[in-house]
């Protein structure tokens, strides 16, 4: 019954060579995710959250350590690990429809089939009216919906999100949080979500992984056992908020 973890990160170290010497961005990071899990990474600026996510995404290589996805070592970017960037990374010369069909096209799926895929995901994110619009004609929230649809249309099993809602206004952010949750609940996706916001982490995560800088490392893990949908005003939510806040303060390393 115990299924294989979708992702295993073990003894991961990352050092950057810079003009001012070597920067130790990650020290001995380990993380195991079960399929369908929603993990939030939280921590002070510079603690290596993006670096960790980018290594899992295959955009950076680790200095030491091992990463496997479904048992296979990660050697570079790939469709099974879909990245959602804070700055969207949509192709400006492609319409919403073409952006979503881009991945399937890159993998050689035929025109008719990928048209159907695109339609389905456009409907899912509620952008049917904007299917032929270009990215510069969309709001930030719409762009991020397209970015999410784009990786889902490409059959990503693990979604890596680096502060995906950080640039959005509070209202749009709340909408997207609940859309992401219902999508996740109905799909069996696994998600790693980087955030600065404690409330966002508690609202979304099955498990919160707390990181600290200097060098970047994992300093605590908190299982969030609150029933969904979560009430951000409830007493247990607030208790957890205090707990995470204390952990961040204790290990935060001011500067």
């Amino acid at each position: 019954m115990t299924s294989r973890p979708i992702l295993e990160v073990a003894a991961l170290h990352k050092r950057f060579a810079t003009a001012g010497g070597e920067v130790e961005a990650l020290r001995n990071v380990g993380l195991t995710m079960r399929r369908g899990e929603f993990v939030c990474l939280i921590g002070a600026s510079g603690c290596g959250k993006s670096t960790l996510l980018r290594i899992i995404g295959g955009f950076e290589t680790a200095s030491e350590g091992r990463i496997t996805m479904d048992g296979a070592p990660v050697v570079g970017p790939g469709p099974e690990r879909g990245m959602v960037f804070q700055d969207y990374g949509l192709f400006p010369w492609l319409s919403v429809r073409e952006n979503i069909a881009f991945g399937p096209a890159a993998r050689g799926i035929g025109r008719v089939k990928r048209g159907e895929i695109a339609e389905r995901f456009i409907a899912m994110i509620g952008l049917t009216r904007f299917a032929d619009a270009y990215p510069h004609q969309l709001s930030g929230g719409m762009k991020q919906r397209v970015a999410i649809a784009r990786v889902l249309a490409n059959d990503a099993a693990l979604i890596l999100m680096d502060e995906p809602f950080g640039a959005l206004d509070a209202m749009t952010r709340e909408h997207l949080q609940s859309e992401l949750l219902s999508l996740w609940a109905s799909s069996g996706l696994s998600v790693i979500f980087v955030t600065h916001a404690i409330e966002e982490a508690i609202l979304l995560a099955d498990r919160i992984v707390v990181m600290s800088p200097g060098p970047g490392r994992i300093t605590a893990e908190i299982a969030v056992d609150l029933a969904r949908p979560r009430d951000i005003t409830s007493a247990p939510f607030n208790a957890l908020r205090r707990e995470v806040s204390a952990l961040l303060g204790a290990h935060g390393g001011n500067g």
């Binding site: 995404g57 295959g58 955009f59 570079g76 970017p77 790939g78 469709p79 690990r81 879909g82 990245m83 960037f85 700055d87 990374g89 949509l90 192709f91 400006p92 010369w93 492609l94 319409s95 881009f102 991945g103 890159a106 993998r107 270009y134 990215p135 510069h136 004609q137 784009r150 990786v151 490409n154």
Partner: protein
């Protein structure tokens, strides 16, 4: 659609030309036989050059043949330049080895103005159409080349990451990501190049050639026909202007996706 409204260009764009025209008129008002002809004299000479009126002098109706000669050299030179500059720019932008191989040579040749090349071209290719055409090609080469290189070099790394993550292989990266994101730069280069071609063609036609607007202006100068000189200048300006409008219309169509091009100019 989301572009900031800039209003219709028509009315406001006409202000400065009308002002210049008024100044010209006022400055020559009391000197119908001065060194500089009056605007109305130039206007009637333009009609005569175009063959709409028939003065019967040597310049009557010669505009169209000369315009055609210049335009064909402009387009031929531009085409040669684009055919060389685009692939070369793409390669220099994309392939480090080609860049290292050619960059210093190109930077060394770049400051040499086309006017300095002209005597050499006349010696190499003789008096005639070919030299003027090649001079045009040289003139638009650098705008096209440099903007193409810039377009390729300024591809956002984020888009390369996004494409890699979505399954684009390394060799497919160029057609799928690099080329489309370089399009606005390439387009700017072509537009600047064509504009410059109209500047260079006149230089190219000023010696050793019988036809073309530049030759027409030189002939008129010999005969002290300042009205024809100015009429020819206006014709060149208009020809370049019409070309630019056409190129911009094509750009708006092809680059609809780009807020800098697709929206209002």
């Amino acid at each position: 659609m989301a572009a900031p409204s800039s209003g219709p260009p028509g009315a406001i764009a006409a202000l400065v030309p009308l002002g210049l025209l008024a100044f010209w008129w006022a400055a020559t008002r009391n000197a119908p036989d001065g060194l500089i002809p009056q605007p109305q004299q130039v206007a009637s000479e333009l009609l005569d050059l175009a063959g709409i009126t028939h003065s019967g002098d040597a310049f009557n109706g010669v505009l169209w043949a000369n315009l055609l000669a210049s335009a064909s050299r402009v387009f031929a030179g531009f085409a040669v330049s684009a055919l060389l500059g685009l692939p070369l720019g793409l390669m220099i932008g994309q392939i480090g080895l080609v860049r290292r191989l050619l960059d210093s040579t190109l930077q060394l040749l770049r400051p040499v103005p086309v006017t300095a090349w002209q005597p050499l071209f006349l010696i190499l290719f003789g008096l005639g159409s070919q030299s003027a055409m090649l001079l045009v090609a040289l003139g638009c080469f650098y705008p096209i080349l440099l903007n193409t290189i810039l377009g390729v070099r300024s591809v956002e790394p984020r888009l390369l990451e996004a494409a890699a993550m979505l399954g684009v292989s390394r060799p497919a990266m160029f057609p799928k990501v690099v080329l489309p994101s370089a399009m606005p730069g390439i387009f700017t280069g072509l537009r600047l190049g064509l504009g410059f071609a109209w500047v260079v063609i006149v230089v190219g036609e000023m010696s050793g050639i019988r036809t073309g607007l530049g030759a027409m202006i030189m002939d008129a100068r010999e005969e002290s026909r300042t009205d024809v000189v100015i009429g020819g200048m206006i014709a060149i300006g208009l020809a370049g202007f019409v070309c630019d409008i056409a190129v911009q219309a094509i750009g708006r169509r092809l680059l609809r996706w780009s807020p800098q091009h697709g929206g209002k100019a």
